[in-house]
Symmetry: C2
Subunit: 181 residues, 2 copies
């Protein structure tokens, strides 16, 4: 069977586990299954697509649209695009989802209660945001709108990375986007 | 034979014919030959990648690097990327060429003497630039560095669009990037 392109989009708060899951999925699809996959994540996006953008709603929306534009180019050429971005606003997430096509878009809500993230605080960002040293920090001083209609929800405070990965793979196979391994 | 990805990059002054040639090549490769092709040109780039960038050297370089980044993602997944951009600076053009890989990058210099372009002036931009109503206009008030090592040179003041297209196709076939039609 020829490879189908789709976009696997991870949304969620900082520290919830988007990058970890996106990279695990990249390894699984690229290296284990030998598929064509690109990962658009944090540093890659900041360096190559979003330089100069800030954290206003307008700039965040521009950033998400831009990542979505690139995901769409890849997806419609039968490449799998994996994006990990806080993408806090429902409206622009849905805009990207509709542009790419809902049948080729997989929205994964990486969920964990903010209290857990504040306690984990691997990068120390929540502490800084709570002290007011970082402005417009999603979940603290900037809004996060949980997706109303996610395709998959992973609860990273309750399940292991491997459990989340299996859940996502099962969904992709169920939707016919991926052959069973 | 499986399709090979490559980047076909048109550089040249405003009005030299980059867009016309890029679109003709897109039609030829996409519609006539049924290949996977994406066209990154003027409006598409301005709307989806470059919003907020101006015409300083730094912003122009960022723009070119960003287009190059997207071309690279497509090329390395076996898609043909066609870019049409003034891309006036040798250094950043060469940077993109090396990142994508010189064997998968085809630099087309769309050449026409500035006097001819001033006379044609389809969009009236040269007149405005000469009156000082547009700042940083390439060829008038901003530099254009002709490529030192182009793969193909098309002289649009001397040859027809069809002649230029045939020249480019012949080069692609010679390099083994395209099967003979």
């Amino acid at each position: 069977m020829a490879q189908k392109g789709f976009t696997l989009w991870f949304t969620g708060l900082s520290g919830a586990g988007k990058t970890t899951l996106a990279q695990r999925m990249y390894d699984e699809l690229k290296h284990k299954r030998g598929l064509k996959v690109e990962l658009l994540d944090g540093d890659v996006v900041r360096t190559n697509l979003s330089k100069g953008l800030g954290f206003s709603k307008e700039d965040r929306d521009t950033n998400i649209r831009r990542i979505g534009f690139v995901c769409n180019l890849l997806t419609r050429n039968d490449v799998i695009a994996i994006a990990a971005a806080i993408s806090p606003y429902e409206e622009v997430r849905e805009e990207v989802r509709n542009t790419i096509g809902r049948d080729k878009f997989v929205l994964v809500y990486v969920n964990a209660p903010i209290e857990v993230l504040i306690e984990r605080d691997v990068k120390g960002l929540y502490a800084k945001a709570l002290r007011g040293e970082i402005q417009n920090f999603t979940g603290i001083s900037d809004p996060y709108e949980p997706p109303k209609d996610p395709d998959v929800v992973v609860n990273t405070h309750q399940e292991s990375v491997e459990e989340s990965v299996r859940k996502i793979l099962a969904h992709l196979e169920e939707r016919g986007l991926l052959d069973p391994d």
